[in-house]
């Protein structure tokens, strides 16, 4: 079980801020494929991955990152702080 979080327009498109996901995915990319295959809203939200950033256990990383043993994975658009 892994905690999956969504922020900004990804949260809005997926329709929830977080969920617990049962998965055997080894990497972020595999988790994304699994989610996309589950429901249309995920397929839409993840249709253009160049517009999506990911953090594993609150550290910014990329889609090839391993998630085995991770507590949380977060998806969000490019940040606009400052």
């Amino acid at each position: 079980m892994i905690e999956v979080l969504y922020f900004a327009w990804l949260r809005e498109r997926i329709g929830q801020p977080r969920e617990r996901v049962e998965t055997r995915a080894q990497t972020v990319a595999e988790l994304v494929e699994e989610l996309k295959s589950r429901e249309e809203r995920y397929a839409v939200a993840f249709s253009d991955l160049s517009a999506v950033r990911v953090a594993v256990d609150q550290e910014l990383t990329d889609f090839s990152a391993p998630i085995v043993g991770a507590r949380e994975v977060a998806f969000f658009p490019p940040m606009t702080g400052g």
Binding site: F7, W9, A55, Q58, L60, A74, F76, M79, T80, G81
Partner: protein, 146 residues
């Protein structure tokens, strides 16, 4: 080092007042304040979403990197989340160093990284609805100078 992520407004003057003071090794203090700007004339509010937990970690890491790289005597970062109106302060950074070059560079480094590497997302509310602020290529490009 003083890092705060908060919904409440902060008092820029009061935050500047004692920063970097009372030391003999500080020759230069630089501060930056980001303010909600209304380019269209139709902005009613800005909302900033953030990622609790990661936000504090990301800012602490960025601030520590700046502190080490420019041998800063002190660093301060305050960043708000939630809703705020045009003219309100969004965030600030402050740096204290021996020389002005280091204080300026460190403040610009903090801003460049906070802009693109701290998990905040801005949404603008106006007469014509709400929309997420898109990240700019130039903000990402700005990181390449460091």
């Amino acid at each position: 080092m003083d890092i705060r992520v908060q919904a409440e407004p902060f008092d820029f003057g009061a935050e500047c007042a004692n920063f970097g003071q009372g030391r003999r090794d500080v020759g230069a203090v630089v501060t930056f304040m980001g303010v909600v700007r209304d380019d269209s004339g139709a902005l009613t509010e800005m909302e900033i979403e953030h990622y609790p937990g990661m936000t504090e970690r990301a800012i602490a890491k960025i601030a520590q990197q700046a502190r080490d790289r420019w041998a800063l005597a002190d660093v301060k970062v305050i960043h708000r989340h939630g809703r705020m109106r045009p003219g309100e302060a969004i965030m600030m950074v402050a740096t204290a160093a021996r020389h002005r070059k280091a204080a300026f560079e460190a403040a610009e480094y903090l801003m460049d990284y906070l802009k693109s590497r701290a998990p905040f997302w801005k949404k603008e509310y106006g007469a014509d609805g709400a929309q997420w602020v898109a990240a700019k290529d130039e903000d990402e490009d700005a990181l390449s100078r460091w």
